[in-house]
């Protein structure tokens, strides 16, 4: 009975260690995508510019240098749906900005897609995607009215206005405004007032067609923002970012087939030759650093839980062997070898540990889902590889934890235990 309690305690210790290891390893493997998804709410991580403008930006090391009138064809944006990492591109939108006069002052008007339904046909295949700044500007707080519904409204006649500008001009949702540019004027109905917390609070956002009309750039856009799920940069990514042609064949294949921000940019440029795609470094770097630190934290928690389990098992097995010293000495006295007695103890413990690890795995599954829902508001995908790793770790922990008890067992002398002293 006492040994059953002991084995139950060993099982519980293993289950606890296994559950934490399972939860942490699963969260660790899934956390990359989760953090990426989280960071996507802070906007795009890739900017697509016309080649010439990108070269100027690079030369002068500025993101938004002197305004150029270089454009990319809007029709080419559909090419993003055809690249190898298309499924990692969660959202994208073209943007064309211009200065317009409104309410007696010059304000910035930005034309873009809001929730644009894109259909793109290439080599007989039709690609479709609903995309736009509704997702790329998910942090906008709509103070009045609602988002501009591009698919339902006659997009040419609607706009959204930044909160500061709206307050300054005393504009509310439902009002009509008129903006003027060198190319003409446009009357727009305001669907909503947004607060972004930055310079955009002074802007007017319209569908892309309005900006194209006001700049005389039909079917064109100035830049595009792309939000993609990427892998954190490593040495290979850094090397490739400098110049992909420096990579060996194998390195190139590995880089190309990994969702590094640089390889996605490279593929965007392949798809749209007159464009230059570059990473928004703050976002890409943050992703990598947050991911690294989160994974390090999870690894440490896993390690600590396994060390705790090892110490727990060590204590329990050692005290179990001490309590059973007469029985084990008797087995030696009736002819059991050290190997047989050790095998007996290890079999009991490993069998208990495997049962505990099984229970711990399911507990870990529950913990992982609680962490996923609490921290990321989504479920954590369970990896089959984790089950294998946990079993290997638990067997290792059990064996290491049993070492002191096995040493004691090997030193156990039946002559001393069964007959007393001399």
């Amino acid at each position: 009975m006492r040994q059953w309690k002991k084995l139950l305690m060993i099982g519980l210790t293993v289950a606890l260690g296994a559950s934490i290891a399972t939860a942490m390893l699963n969260v660790m493997l899934d956390v990359g995508d989760k953090i990426n998804e989280e960071l996507k709410t802070y906007g795009s991580n890739i900017t697509v510019l016309p080649q010439s403008e990108a070269v100027m930006n690079k030369l002068y090391d500025v993101e938004n240098g002197e305004e150029k009138n270089e454009y990319i064809k809007e029709s080419q944006l559909g090419e993003l749906l055809t690249i190898f990492w298309a499924n990692n591109i969660t959202d994208f939108a073209p943007l064309t900005d211009t200065e317009v006069s409104f309410g007696g002052k010059n304000v910035k008007l930005v034309g873009s897609w809001f929730d644009h339904h894109l259909e793109f046909v290439k080599k007989g295949t039709t690609y479709q995607r609903d995309t736009g700044i509704i997702n790329l500007r998910s942090w906008w707080d709509i103070k009045d009215g609602k988002w501009l519904d591009e698919q339902k409204l006659d997009s040419a006649n609607y706009a959204m206005i930044g909160a500061e500008l709206a307050k300054e001009q005393n504009i509310k949702a439902g009002d009509t405004i008129t903006v003027n540019s060198e190319k003409g004027s446009q009357t727009l109905k305001v669907t909503g007032i947004f607060e972004s917390g930055d310079d955009e609070d002074q802007c007017i956002y319209t569908p892309l067609g309005v900006a194209q009309k006001l700049t005389g750039s039909d079917g064109m856009f100035k830049k595009a923002e792309v939000s993609a799920i990427t892998s954190p940069d490593d040495e290979l990514a850094v090397k490739a970012a400098k110049n992909p042609s420096l990579l060996s064949g194998d390195e190139y294949d590995l880089w190309y087939c990994t969702a590094y921000v640089s390889s996605i940019c490279f593929q965007i440029q392949e798809a749209i030759p007159e464009a230059s795609a570059s990473a928004v470094r703050q976002i890409a770097d943050s992703e990598g650093k947050i991911l690294e630190k989160t994974q390090l934290l999870m690894s440490l928690i896993t390690l600590m839980s396994l060390i705790g389990a090892t110490l727990g098992i060590s204590n329990l097995v050692t005290s179990g062997v001490m309590e059973r010293s007469q029985e084990l000495a008797l087995l030696k006295a009736v002819g059991a070898t050290n190997g047989q007695v050790t095998g007996l103890i290890l079999t009991e413990i490993i069998a208990t540990a495997i049962v505990g690890a099984g229970a711990g795995y399911f507990m870990g599954y529950a913990f992982a889902q609680i962490i996923g829902q609490t921290v990321f508001s989504s479920s954590i995908e369970m990896s089959g590889m984790v089950a294998f790793i946990v079993i290997v770790l638990i067997i290792a922990v059990t064996l290491v934890g049993s070492i002191p008890a096995i040493r004691m067992l090997l030193r156990l002398r039946p002559s001393e235990v069964l007959h007393g002293g001399h």
Partner: protein, 224 residues
């Protein structure tokens, strides 16, 4: 013909000579009682005879073979095949039934055979108690299970350490009757005891004091 010989055997623990140049011969089929006060070296001698301990010096010869320098594994095998042990405290495994306790010795010797184990229990008059746990048996019954376990692998020598030390007179007599029967069947017996009544039924009495054999005499009162 001698089954066991201790030649000038000593066992030293630091300054303590637990066994001091002891010489002993046990013939096949002989029944010997080793007697002496506490600390005289009885248990040390028994541990050396049973191959569970090694002498500091001297030789142990069993069935003509010097086993003094054998490896631990060889000694374990030798002890398992040739010697049956009976303990004062019985040392039964408390979660196994009587027959299972007997089968444990079979398991580490060859393979468990319940029929044989039941026959061994029948020899000590306990077949009807075979399915009982040790806690459900009296002290005498537990000792008889212990004897059945010692007998199960047909050892050449039965070594008993104070076999009646925890028993009342009735049970003591039952155990001694079993020993008489074993002796009649030709089993060699070495019984360590400080009880004169147990010593007096043996064929030969060896007395130890401070690790030395102080007397080694045939028992004139011995009767089959």
């Amino acid at each position: 013909m001698s089954l066991l010989e201790l030649k000038d055997v000593s066992k030293v623990y630091g300054d303590l000579h637990a066994l001091d140049h002891a010489n002993l011969t046990v013939d096949k089929g002989e029944w010997i009682a080793i007697m002496g006060p506490s600390g005289s070296g009885k248990s040390t001698m028994m541990n050396i005879i049973s191959c569970m301990d090694r002498p500091s010096s001297g030789k142990v010869i069993f069935d003509g073979k010097d086993i003094t320098k054998e490896s631990r594994r060889k000694l374990t095998e030798f002890h398992r095949d040739k010697i049956g042990l009976v303990f004062q405290q019985f040392h039964l495994i408390n979660y196994l039934s009587a027959v299972e306790n007997v089968m444990v010795a079979q398991y580490y010797h060859s393979m468990p055979d319940e029929k044989e184990a039941l026959e061994a229990l029948e020899r000590v008059g306990l077949k009807d108690r075979a399915r009982h746990l040790p806690s459900q048996l009296s002290g005498g019954e537990q000792q008889r299970v212990c004897i059945a376990r010692a007998l199960i692998n047909s050892p050449e020598l039965i070594l008993a350490d104070e076999p009646t030390g925890n028993l009342d007179e009735a049970n003591e007599n039952i155990v001694l009757d079993i020993f008489r029967q074993l002796h009649k069947e030709g089993t060699s017996l070495v019984v360590v005891t400080h009880d004169p009544e147990v010593g007096e039924v043996a064929q030969r009495i060896v007395r130890l004091d401070h690790g030395k054999i102080v007397s080694d005499k045939k028992n004139d009162n011995f009767s089959e």
